[in-house]
């Protein structure tokens, strides 16, 4: 059962990842990204990481992908990309370099490379089911409390930065490009 589940979702994840790279329309890329993200969430579930799987679905597959789709629609860049490559041999070189990277990663990942000592205490042991949430929470609010607090500041800074950057981009050019902008998302289609 687990074996079948693994290979089905591995095929889905790899197919989705290839689809993100190969599809010429960004909207299809974003939707195929969801396939990969959900498959990875299933792998999290299969490894007894229930909380992370739920967060993966909520944050990645909904929030981030919706943000992507929103920007694609807002900018109207969902037309297809040209095939002409301005840098000669870029594609071939990229695939060769990717193959080298994959060989290196498989060399590391294909063998058991987890050399760290197993956690000795009972406190850091992950548990299946509802206890997994409890174990993660206990670790996050004791050992990793300081990094956890910093992420709050990081998110606040990112939100403010995003608003400021997106707002200033149009304001610097002056008022003359303001009127065509609202009509753009609808006018392109």
């Amino acid at each position: 059962m687990t074996v079948v589940l693994f290979f089905v979702f591995a095929a889905l994840a790899l197919g989705g990842a290839l689809g993100v790279v190969l599809s010429r329309n960004p909207v299809y890329s974003a939707l195929l990204l969801v396939v990969t993200l959900v498959s990875v969430a299933v792998f999290f579930l299969m490894q007894d990481a229930q909380l992370v799987a739920a967060v993966q679905i909520i944050v990645y597959a909904s929030a981030i992908v919706v943000l992507f789709l929103f920007v694609i629609m807002l900018l109207g860049v969902d037309r297809e990309e040209t095939i002409i490559e301005p840098l000669r041999g870029q594609r071939v070189l990229a695939v060769v370099l990717g193959g080298i990277l994959l060989a290196q990663l498989l060399f590391l990942g294909g063998r058991v490379w987890a050399t760290g000592a197993r956690c000795a205490e009972e406190a850091c042991r992950p548990e299946a089911g509802a206890a997994n949430v409890e174990a993660v929470a206990r670790s996050m609010f004791t050992t990793y409390l300081w990094p956890f607090e910093i992420t709050a500041a990081l998110l606040a800074i990112a939100v403010v930065g995003g608003v400021v950057i997106a707002k200033r981009g149009g304001a610097v050019t002056g008022g003359e490009d303001e009127p065509p902008r609202p009509s753009q998302p609808g006018g392109q289609r």
Binding site: T2, V3, F6, A13, L14, A17, L18, V20, V21, A30, L33, T36, V40, F43, M46, Q47, A49, L51, V52, Y60, A63, F68, V71, I72, L75, V77, E81, Q90, V95, L97, G98, L101, L102, L106, G109, G110, V112, W113, A114, G116, R118, C119, C124, R125, P126, A135, V136, M140, Y144, T151, L154, A158, V159, G161, G162, I165, A166, R168, G169, T173
Partner: protein, 101 residues
Amino acid sequence: MTITGNYYLVLASLIFSIGAVGLLVRRNVLVMFMCIELMLNAVNLTFVTFSNMLDDVSGQVLVFFTLVVAAAEVAVGLALIVAIFKRRETATADDLNLLEG
């Protein structure tokens, strides 16, 4: 036949490589961004796998921090793309060949 951690590690390295090739091949900035998300997700998968292999819940906590950084990165990055698009009317990486706005 049981699924050991190595299967997950090999799968994660495959997804990571696909993301890296996509980042090099594609020229639409938004799709390049999605490829970065793919690579981050592959790393998250290895974190959870090692967490499972080593019986240590820290790997799952680290996935949270990766998620937070990814969310912040997407928020700022998409804002940058919107700002660039307002000025230059393009979302192709090759057209952005000047440092000045």
